[in-house]
Amino acid sequence: MIVNEKIAIDHGLKKDEYKKICALLKRTPNITELGIFSAMWNEHCSYKSSRLHLKKLPTKGKQVIQGPGENAGVVDIGDNDAIVFKIESHNHPSFIEPYQGAATGVGGIMRDVFTMGARPIANLNSIHFGSTQHKKTKNLLRGVVHGIGGYGNCMGVPTIAGQTSFDSSYNGNILVNAMTLGLVKKDKIFYSKAAGLNKPVIYVGSKTGRDGIHGASMASASFDDKIEEKKPTVQVGDPFTEKLLLEACLELMAGDSIIAIQDMGAAGLTSSSIEMASKGNLGIEINLNNVPCRETKMTPYEIMLSESQERMLIVLENGKEEQAKKIFDKWNLDFAVIGKTTKSKKIELYFDSEKVADIPVNTLVENSPMYDRKWKKAKLPKKNKINKDEINILKIIEILKKILANPNVCSKEWIWQQYDHTVMGDTIQKPGGDSGVVRVHGTNKAVAASVDSSAVYCWAHPLTGGKQVVCESFRNLISVGAKPIAITNCLNFGSPENEENMGEFVECVQGIGEASSYLKFPVVSGNVSFYNQTKDQGIKPTPSIGGVGLIKDYNKMITMDFKEVDNVVLVIGKTEGHIDQSLFARVILDEKNGPPPEINLFNEKNNGETLLKLIDNNLIKSAHDISLGGIITAVSKMCLKGNKGINLKKPKYLISEIEYFFGEDQGRYIVEISKKDQKKVLDTLDKNAVHYDELGTINENMLFLDEKTKVTIDELKGFNTRWLKEYMSN
C-alpha cells in the first residue's frame, strides 16, 4: 500500500503533521512507519496539546524520588521504602465495552507500577457515569464495576478506595480512572532508560494478537454515531496472565540482569521500544518474526500497533538470557529475544529478512508536534441572590434525607463489596472512609490514598475547581491521620480543539499547580485524557486527583465513625454558608449557576496541619472532612458509621440554619474529642489561629437539633444505604 495524505488523515493525523513526517524522513513513509507515527503522535501518547501546560506543574519535593516522565511516580516513605503510584484513564474503551475497558484499565496501571519493580499493594478508582435516568447508565456501571473487580480481584491486589459520580454530562462519555500504589525498596527501582550497545531486547508475557490496534488513536478522538464500530479497538484483558507476569518480573528483578524495562501499554510494542531507545539515546533493532504472535499472518503493521495486554519489553545484560528465560518458563510465559540495542539512534524493524521500518527515534519523540492551543479564560460567575425567606421554610431533616439518598452522596457499598478490599492482609481502612489505608507489610507504617474530583466546581470556575480538588485530596488524607506526600492526576476533558474546553484544561491545571505548590503536595505522575466528547458535547472538566500520604504509626490512624457518647464534636474551619454550586443548591433549589466556594490556601494548610498535630498527640477520636452536602451531611455520615447520634447546637451566626448546615465552604473538618481533652484541643486551635465551632455532643441514636428537627440514625441509614442497591436491582 502506498501511503498518501488521505491514508494519513484516516490514521488521525492532520495534513500538516503528515507533511512534517515526510519532511523529517525526507521521503514518504511506508504503511508500517505511518502507523508508528500515528501511534506516537496522537494526543494520548504525545500530549501534544497539554505538554506546554503540564510543564508548569510543581513536580519536585523532599520526598520525590521520581516525578512525571517514567512509568509512574515514586516517593520516599523512609527506611529504604518507597511508594510507586500513578492514575490513568481508560475512558473511551470503557464506554464502548465496559467490562474489558475497565478491566484493562486496571491491568494497565498495575503494569505501570510493577514495571518499576514495585509490588502493587492497593488499587483505587474514580468512575463517572451519565444521569441515573439515562438508558445506558445502569449497564455501564455494572459492566465497569465487574471489570474492575474481575481484574483486581484476580490479581490479588486490594481495591481500597474510590469515587463514583453521576452527571448528565457523562451520558455519552463515561470516565474510568484507575490508580495503583506499589511498594518497592528505594535501591531496587527499575527504569525504562535503555543503556549499552548490543544488549538483548526481550519480549515477555502474552502473545501478540490483533486486539486493540489503534486503541490509543481511538482514545484521541471524539465519539460519533459509529461508535459501536470501534469495538475491535478495545483490548481484551487476562488478569491470570498478568498475575503470572507480575510474579515472574518480580522474581527476575530480584537479580541484577535487567538494564531497562517497560510495559507495553498504549501503542504497544511501538511506544515501549521507542521510549526505551529515546531515554537511552540509543537505537533499537527488532526482528518482528521473533515476536510471539497469537494469530497467523500478522503483518508488521499489526504487530507494532497491537495493544494486546500483559506484555513487557526488557533490555537485559548480555549473557543473562538463559537465566531469565528459566523464570518465565516456570511461570509459563512467552520469552523471546526479539532484537538488540544499537548506536544508530533509529528504530529499525525487520520482517521476513526485509527492513520494514527505519525511523530516527528523535523524529518520533522530540520532534513530535506540540500545540499552543487557543483557550478562553473563564469568568467567575456572579453570586446568586438566595431568597432567605424561601429557604428558611424548608425542613432540614427532609432535605438531609434527600441529600443522603442522592446518587452522588449515598453509600457505594454495592460497588466496593464487589472488589476484594482485604486480600494481602494489610487493609486497615476499607472503602467508605475518607481514604483507604494499607499497612506497609511487616512495619508500623501505613500508606493512605484517596481519589477525588469535583467536576461541578471545575465547570463553574476551572481555576477554583482545580485548586479545590487538590485541597480535597489533602483533607481526605489528613482526616485519616496521614501526612500528605504527593499526588497523581488524571485530567479528563473535552476536545482541546474547542477554546472553551481548552480553557477549562489550562485553568484547572493552573489551579492544581497553585494548590499543590502551596501545600507542598507535588504532582509526581499523571495522564491526560482529551476528547471526552460526543459530537460537540464535551464532559464537565473532571481532573481526578489521587493523593498519597503516610501514617508513621498505624495505631494512630483515624476513622470517621463516632466513637463514644458524650464526646464533644467540633467543626474546624470557618463556615460562611456558601450555597452556590452546593449539592443543596443543585438538588433542592435546582439552581445550577453561581461560583464554587472559594479556596483559601493558607487556611487549608493551617487547618490541616493543626489537625495533624492534634491527631499525633492522640487528641482526636474521629474525623471527617466536610464536602458535598455540608456540615450536616458530614456529621450524619459519622453518625451512620458509628451508630451514634448527635445533639446539635444552634449555630450562632447571622447566616440561616440552612446555610450553616448545607453550605460547602472549604477547608473544614468535623472532629470528635473527649471532654477531658477539650481544653488542650481548643488551646492548640487558638494558638494556631484555627477557627472552630462547637457543633454538639454525641448521643445514643438520634440526630437532634430541636423538637421539630430530629431523626433517628436508623432512619437516616435507610436513606443512605438503599438507593444504589435498589437502583441496580430494578
Binding site: 476484594d420 486480600v423 494481602m424 492482609g425
Partner: protein, 227 residues
C-alpha cells in the same frame, strides 16, 4: 508444628496464609504446584486465589496439578488438609469433599464480613474452640455450595457440615446467606473430618487492625489441637 501452603499459578492468598500460620507458631513451608513430594507436615493448606485464572471451572485445573496426588495421598492417610476459598473449590474438584461450588446467587463477587456457626466440634479443626459463632471474611464469586439431596442426606448423617452462615447470635437463616449456598453451608468436612473446605478466610482476621480477630481464635485453637 509443621505446615505447608501450596502455591498454584494464580494463587493470591498464599502469602497471607503463610503470615497467619507463622504468627500462630507453625513452621510453614511454601510448596510449588509442580513439586511432587510434600514436605513433612502436620497441616497442608490450599490457599485462596484464582488458580489457573479460574478458567474451565474454579479449582478444576489446579486439582490436576502435580503436587495434588501427594496432597490426596496425604489426606487419604489421615493428614489434615484445609482448603480456603479457591482451596475449597480445588478440594471439591478432587472429590476429597463432596458437592460443588456454583456462582453466587446474585452473580456478583462478594467481599465482606460474615458470621458462621460452628456445626461440629468433634474434629481436629474446631475441637476445644470456645466460640460458637465466628466472624470471618469472605471474598469470592463462586461460593454457592450445592449438592444432590442424597449427598446432602449423607453429609448431614455423617455430621460433615463444618460451618453455616448465620447472624451474630448464630441463627442460621436465609437472610444471612450471602451467596445462595444450600442450607447456608460455608464449609464442610470429608467423612473422616481430617479434610476441611471452607469459603471464609480466617487468615484475614488475625489482628485488631484488620477486619477482626476471630481468625486468631481459629488458628490458636488449631495449633493447640495439633500439638
Amino acid at each position: 508444628m509443621k505446615s505447608a501452603v501450596i502455591t498454584f499459578p494464580g494463587s493470591n492468598c498464599d502469602r497471607d496464609m503463610d503470615v497467619a500460620l507463622k504468627k500462630f507458631g507453625f513452621k510453614n513451608k511454601m510448596v510449588w504446584h509442580q513439586d511432587i513430594e510434600l514436605p513433612k507436615s502436620d497441616l497442608v493448606v490450599l490457599p485462596g486465589g484464582f488458580s489457573y485464572g479460574d478458567y474451565l471451572r474454579c479449582g478444576s485445573m489446579a486439582s490436576k496439578s502435580k503436587i495434588m496426588q501427594s496432597v490426596i495421598n496425604f489426606a487419604n492417610s489421615g493428614g489434615m488438609v484445609m482448603g480456603i476459598c479457591n482451596g475449597f473449590q480445588i478440594l471439591v474438584e478432587t472429590g476429597l469433599v463432596p458437592g460443588v461450588l456454583l456462582r453466587n446467587k446474585y452473580l456478583e463477587f462478594i467481599c465482606k464480613n460474615v458470621f458462621v456457626k460452628i456445626n461440629n466440634k468433634n474434629n481436629g479443626y474446631f475441637k476445644n474452640i470456645s466460640n460458637e459463632v465466628l466472624e470471618l471474611h469472605i471474598a469470592h464469586n463462586e461460593g454457592n455450595y450445592f449438592c444432590t439431596n442424597d449427598q446432602l442426606k449423607e453429609i448431614e448423617d455423617n455430621t460433615q457440615v463444618a460451618i453455616n452462615y448465620c447472624d451474630p447470635e448464630g441463627k442460621i437463616e436465609e437472610p444471612f446467606n450471602p451467596n445462595g449456598s444450600i442450607k447456608n453451608i460455608a464449609g464442610i468436612f470429608n467423612k473422616e473430618k481430617n479434610v476441611l473446605g471452607m469459603m471464609p478466610h480466617p487468615e484475614r482476621m488475625i489482628d485488631h487492625s484488620l477486619s477482626g480477630e476471630d481468625g486468631s481464635h481459629f488458628f490458636k485453637n488449631l495449633i493447640n489441637n495439633l500439638k
